[in-house]
């Protein structure tokens, strides 16, 4: 175990290295490139024994990862924004083929106009691809989640891929203190991957051939549904094991910050939660009861945990750093749906913030909490969706 100063991208590369990724296929894209550059360096120095495949696009990168995974290799790739959406077709393929690939996606806005800064629309629009989705707050969490993800994804009861989102620049290019675990600790925690159905020339089999409506397609999809249902309890177990081995505690799909007695709770995913915590501390010093829920996992959506965490709140502000045009922010939609039918439901409002990397400051967050208080005092949500910090 050694503590070092490193960027989120370098932490991601260390996560893949310590997990002993065996096949890495990737295509460069800002602001992800330094992840695969670092991995290429690890491979060329002999620090990581892996096959590094240069490909001509992200679509090919994912194709290579799927094939590698199906031979029983631990596969890794990293991408961002345009690269992720170009992969879209093969994201469905990866989960359908039950390939436990782990991918890091540096969350970045989509063009046009060109923008390389943070936004979550790239990953939110992969919601239905059958991938587990994590969003990180710190560089340490990026590294740790990567190691835990392999254990989770490769579990025989799961066998699904996962993507880990880290905010462009706020994590990818920001240096923080990161605790790099020892390789033998990681080896103890994460054994070699053994595919249940490896492609092997000695014992030939094919994966993914035609399945007619009256055959088994529905049933294969049903099995993915079941596997996703097992993810959160399985993750709980893995996080406990992780704590025992490495001494760092993660709290499942949600991180709760001063929520127990909070009148107003904000919900967010990604690194801006750090800035919200700072703002919560300021309010709390004045005796004002506000709290924060950080959504660490968007798929599977933690409906139960959220319902429980919000059961005492009067007002919930959902911050989305993404937007589904024609409706609302994705987290807002999903949260409202999962609260339906519960006995006591808080008032709820959607705030669209930090689009295209616009800085989310403590001032922004203070304004949002005050906006929530106003709605609460008036006993009325003025507009259900409000875009914050738009120049007029």
């Amino acid at each position: 175990m050694v503590k070092k100063i490193m960027t989120g991208n370098v932490a991601a590369a260390w996560g893949a290295r310590l997990s002993r990724a065996e096949v890495i296929a990737a295509y460069p894209i800002t602001p992800q490139t330094s992840i695969v550059e670092k991995l290429a360096q690890f491979v060329s120095n002999g620090d990581l024994k892996a096959e590094y495949i240069h490909v001509e696009s992200e679509h090919s990168a994912m194709a290579a990862c799927i094939a590698a995974s199906q031979t029983g290799a631990r596969a890794f790739t990293a991408t961002s924004s345009q690269g992720l959406v170009l992969m879209h077709e093969l994201l469905h393929w990866a989960s359908g083929a039950r390939a436990p690939i782990v991918m890091v996606n540096v969350n970045r806005a989509l063009a046009p106009p060109w923008n390389v800064w943070v936004e979550h629309t790239d990953m939110m629009s992969q919601r239905d691809t059958g991938w587990i989705q994590f969003y990180a707050e710190s560089n340490q969490e990026v590294l740790d989640t990567l190691i835990m993800s392999y254990k989770l994804c490769e579990d025989k009861e799961i066998q699904l891929p996962a993507m880990i989102g880290l905010d462009a620049f706020y994590l990818s290019h920001t240096s923080e203190i990161v605790d790099i675990p020892d390789q033998d600790q990681v080896d103890r925690f994460l054994p070699d991957y053994e595919s249940a159905y490896p492609l092997d020339t000695e014992n030939p089999l094919s994966i993914g051939s035609l399945s007619m409506p009256n055959q088994w397609y529905s049933e294969f999809r049903y099995k993915i549904y079941e596997a996703m249902e097992r993810v959160l309890p399985k993750l709980n177990q893995i996080e406990e094991d992780f704590y025992k081995e490495f001494g760092r505690k993660y709290t499942g799909p949600l991180e709760l910050y001063n929520t127990e007695d909070a009148e107003i709770i904000l919900i967010i995913s990604g690194a801006a939660s750090g800035t919200i915590k700072e703002t919560v501390d300021t309010f709390r010093k004045k005796g004002i009861k506000v709290g924060l829920i950080r959504l660490r996992i968007f798929r599977p959506f933690p409906s139960e945990a959220l319902g429980k965490a919000l059961s005492n709140a009067s007002f919930v502000g959902v911050i989305d750093r993404s937007f589904s045009f024609g409706h609302e922010g994705a987290i807002f939609t999903e949260l409202k749906a999962s609260l339906y039918g519960r006995k006591s439901v808080p008032m709820i409002k959607n705030f669209i913030v930090g689009i295209g990397g616009r800085d989310i400051t403590t001032d922004t967050i203070t304004e949002i909490y005050e906006n929530c208080f106003n709605c609460l005092n008036n006993k009325k949500v003025d507009v259900s969706v409000e875009w914050i910090d738009i120049k007029v």
Binding site: P112, P113, I390, K391, V392
Partner: protein, 95 residues
Amino acid sequence: MKKLEKLMSIGDLPEVAVSNVPTLNQKTGTWRVYRPEVDKGKCIKCSICWRCCPEISIDIDKEGFPIIKYDYCKGCGICAYECPTTAIKMNREGK
């Protein structure tokens, strides 16, 4: 339509992210670390450099020699790499 630099409010914004500021204004020559220089003695006027330049920063003069437009050339070195007679050399800026 107003010039992009003069946009003051969301009301001035066109619906589409168009720009009517000519790209000629965007002089990217300051990005350059290495500077392509042409040796006319070795140049055979084949125009391969002109065809390969990704930034359209090479013109051909009346005699058929390349002229590098240093206001725009980013110093990528593709012209020097492709030149069949090594008539283009990349020299460090400021030396």
